[in-house]
Symmetry: D2
Subunit: 321 residues, 4 copies
């Protein structure tokens, strides 16, 4: 049982979503420079119930149902002090080595990274605040305004979260592309105006220079290459998904001759309050992203399921009693 | 019958909304420095059918149903060239002396300030694109993002247009204040989370420093004074409505100690395409703002009606056969 | 002798500048809602030598000559986490009741609010980083770019700091107005292109709507009223100085019809590194702002001198052996 | 002798700079999709004297010494109306096929794209306003503020113009890299804090993730590839130079994991007034960029000289009597 500091709360974990990064660490033991060198507890998309409250904590109390923002920054570096704490080089991010994650019964967490759930949001749904935060952050960083042709490449959890963020701004016409039809069906259900399966149609090829905002969430080399070709002159490409391969053939000339903004996205900052508010107002559907649930003792099965069922599953959860 | 230039179209006017400024010119013959010195045709919120097309015009054709953006800038000054054509000192704005307006059968208009209506948008509804453009511009200039406590002071045509703009961004909690209950009812219908009638309740007084965005659209001295007190530290006040009296008692210290942004709004730029898109997607309800219609020969009655029925009417239209 | 935490350093104070707020507390015992209710040590513009280093501190060592940024925010609220820590409601700001200030021999201070001085910057000059931070923040917040007509109302320490910030951006034409000629002489020396003494000339009255940026640093009612009249259409007013009187007659209509941005300034955030860099590159002259020095035991005389000699003095310092 | 419209002036050309694009068209007959299909007059960096003034023109008169901004946009498209006229698809840009350029005695030009020279700026220096506009635009688009580590890759005309723009903002520490030492010497002379010749040193390789702003002006594949590696986390890469080869090996993962902004630059908009102001204030040295001059009848020799002397020449001019 972890001991809490005076600015922390103790949370009894109730549900944890499995992220692609969890699967990756489980399978390969590393992501880029992050290497698992000793046993590591995975899981960072989590929610739970407060069972102890630090003495300086205000606004939270025993029994509160909460979501945990998983990255705790140093609060002192230039990034933290200028509002971009997601770039803090000393961040302690759950389930990124050597920091343990949420597949565990109790977590001590700083109160200001703990967010009360709206009444109608379940623990299960609340695990989705994490990918939703990525989607919201992408849309905020892209400064999407009313109107515009929007393309989302990839309709996995991040792509569908980005879709849910973007349909919350009126006037846009949103196209979603993915190679799995069941994901495109979800995209339709969640408000996409048009869906494209590039394995079944060349519709995307015909849309060069057609989009005001191109969000890349698939993390494939091909879709990353397409981004700059699909964007309209003077508009924006937002890179969220990380291809396995570092250097790719990329048409940088398009960035110049079309004067694009190509914006990287690394996690998020200050998005949980926005995610909570959207859920509270019923403006996102998180439940529909949950494909499969496993009880806590079957966490390894859950990881394997998530690894093996990309073609039929969006988000796999681990549920605690 | 006006003659069109090669970059213009001729529009047979079908509907014109009456704006507060029309009523003002009709009643007093002036607004600030703008004085009616010779007969002036009023009306600038207008829609119609294209009956002639200039030879250089692309993308518009005979019979197209269109809305007219009423201000034509010089296209050459520093404001025009930097995208803020609403501030062009040489703009020719319909129904602002000495430029004639739209209470007339035919208008020649530059094609790039003419916008095709979505199929389901009627001529009548399309007159509302003009106040909607003001609302959209206010919200764009305020950079409203997901979430936030939003206050709209005044629920006339501009206030309700601002409301419609703002509810098209998810996550906000919107409060609307007005002294007429029928307007507050409209606000509720259009998505306000909370309404306040300051003549019946002191709820507003208790909300000092509570709002992330305070939009002032009522144009009264009292509401303008309230803005800086109601805004949260570090947030924004957007002044749209113009009080009759130039200098007012204003708590400028609040701007400094709360580090506010106080932003003026003068008309709009580049908003008609956004208005069209929102209408096309069914994300605004323009019809509900129309209270009363008069046929073209009764334009003067329409002006009088608009002048005399503020407590029961939102927008009065003049309709052409 | 204060004890330091592991993230703190102990600083032997070497020089402290006297700010208008120090004089105000000394004279009246309050500023707005801040009231001195028990003995309070004044002074917050300070520099010194590090005499002890907390065990977690990196990048600072014994003997380092440093400037102290005087406001320590909570690091946890929405303002801190979004980069606007100057608006933190729980900030502990030196010499703002009930937090003690720098007229004392030793101060324990968090290392990330302590900045090493460039070699050529003296302790005395380094006290001026504080007002320079205000000037830099005003210019950064106003997004001053190459070119533009710039007006600075008031040529006290903040006005001259703003001037020094603004002349570090090429292409601007800077006018400074003040009622004391010796200050205008300093302004000239520091790069003002034009100076105006409104008690001797009506030059300012003739410059309505002439400036792209109007910085108000005098904190007088009259100059605050002038700001919106002097700004060009579509441009910016930056309010820094706090008039004694809360509500003033203010022409809010100018904000609307000229579509101005009126921006409040409350202290600063993230500016000390910029101040240090400018000093290091020799791009500011801080020495010239120092008018008079007193030894530490004569701190009260220093306060009285600062209070009584506004017409001939810019900045009064207290120097420690 | 061209005839002028009522909004135009006739300019007797006095000096024209040779741009890399002129050399490219001269040598290969094309740049990307732009192909010279019939005789084309080259030259677009030009200055001259006004010899005729259209009847609507204000602010310009016979005998005025002026620079010509070479791209005339349509003024009607979404880009023109939103202030990004450099992206106008219908722009008529001098010496870009099929639009003739400035190696000609008289040019008719819209008055609002004609700028009076400061008294002390010669016709020859004024030709450099064009590359200076590119440099200024890059710096404005990058939102460079006080301070920061700045890297400019390439010290040709654009690189040195970018350098001159960037040193006009205080507090930056500027490193310039180029393979020609004489260019690096110019960079030093113009204010670079540090210069690197990557053919003589591996200093650049050691500076991974060290720069707040990386400007790529060399247009080589290698330097373009380096940009994202050299940029600090959360900072900006600005791509100005166009490599001959479209698709290159590019580490897009760095954009994501460091959350970079990669910004393309295509020409410029609204920069000539800023260039004029900097020249007027003596804050740029344009003369030093001029390496060689040829009289008008030897324009072809000038083109050949510019083509063949990159290792010893910055800018070649053609001078008219």
């Amino acid at each position: 049982m972890p001991r809490i500091g005076k600015d922390e709360v103790l949370v009894s974990i109730k549900a944890v979503g499995i992220c692609g990064s969890d699967v990756h660490y489980y399978t390969t033991g590393r992501i880029g420079d992050f290497v698992v060198e000793k046993p590591l507890i995975l899981g960072h998309e989590c929610s739970g119930e407060i069972v102890e409250v630090g003495k300086n904590v205000e606004g939270l109390q025993l029994g509160d149902r909460v979501a945990l923002e998983p990255g705790i920054p140093c609060r002192k570096c230039q990034y933290c002090k200028s509002g971009r704490y997601n770039l803090c080089p000393n961040v302690r991010f759950m389930a990124t080595p050597p920091v343990d994650g949420a597949f565990v019964e109790y977590v001590a967490h700083p109160a200001d990274f703990v967010f009360k759930l709206p009444e109608k949001t379940s623990y299960e749904e609340a695990t989705l605040f994490e990918p939703l935060a990525v989607g919201l952050y992408s849309v905020v960083r892209a400064k999407v305004s009313f109107g515009g042709e929007i393309l989302i490449l990839g309709a996995g959890p991040i792509g569908l979260a980005t879709l849910q963020a973007v349909v919350n701004i009126g006037g846009g016409r949103v196209t979603v592309a993915d190679i799995y039809d069941f994901r495109l069906k979800k995209a339709r259900e969640l408000g996409a105006d048009k869906v494209i399966n590039p394995q079944q149609s060349d519709a995307l090829d015909k849309l060069r220079s057609s989009f005001d905002y191109v969000f890349e969430t698939a993390g494939s080399v091909v879709t990353t290459q397409q981004t700059v070709k699909l964007a309209k002159r003077g508009r924006k490409v937002i890179l969220v998904g990380l291809p396995a391969q570092e250097a790719i053939e990329f048409n940088t000339n398009q960035i110049i001759t079309k004067e694009l903004d190509v914006l990287g996205i690394f996690r998020y900052a200050n998005m949980y309050p926005k995610a909570v508010r959207l859920a509270e107002k019923g403006q996102v559907n998180l439940k529909t992203l949950i494909s499969k649930k496993f009880p806590f003792p079957q966490t390894e099965e859950a990881l394997k399921y998530a690894r093996d069922n990309k073609e039929s599953s969006i988000k796999t959860l681990v549920i605690f009693d």
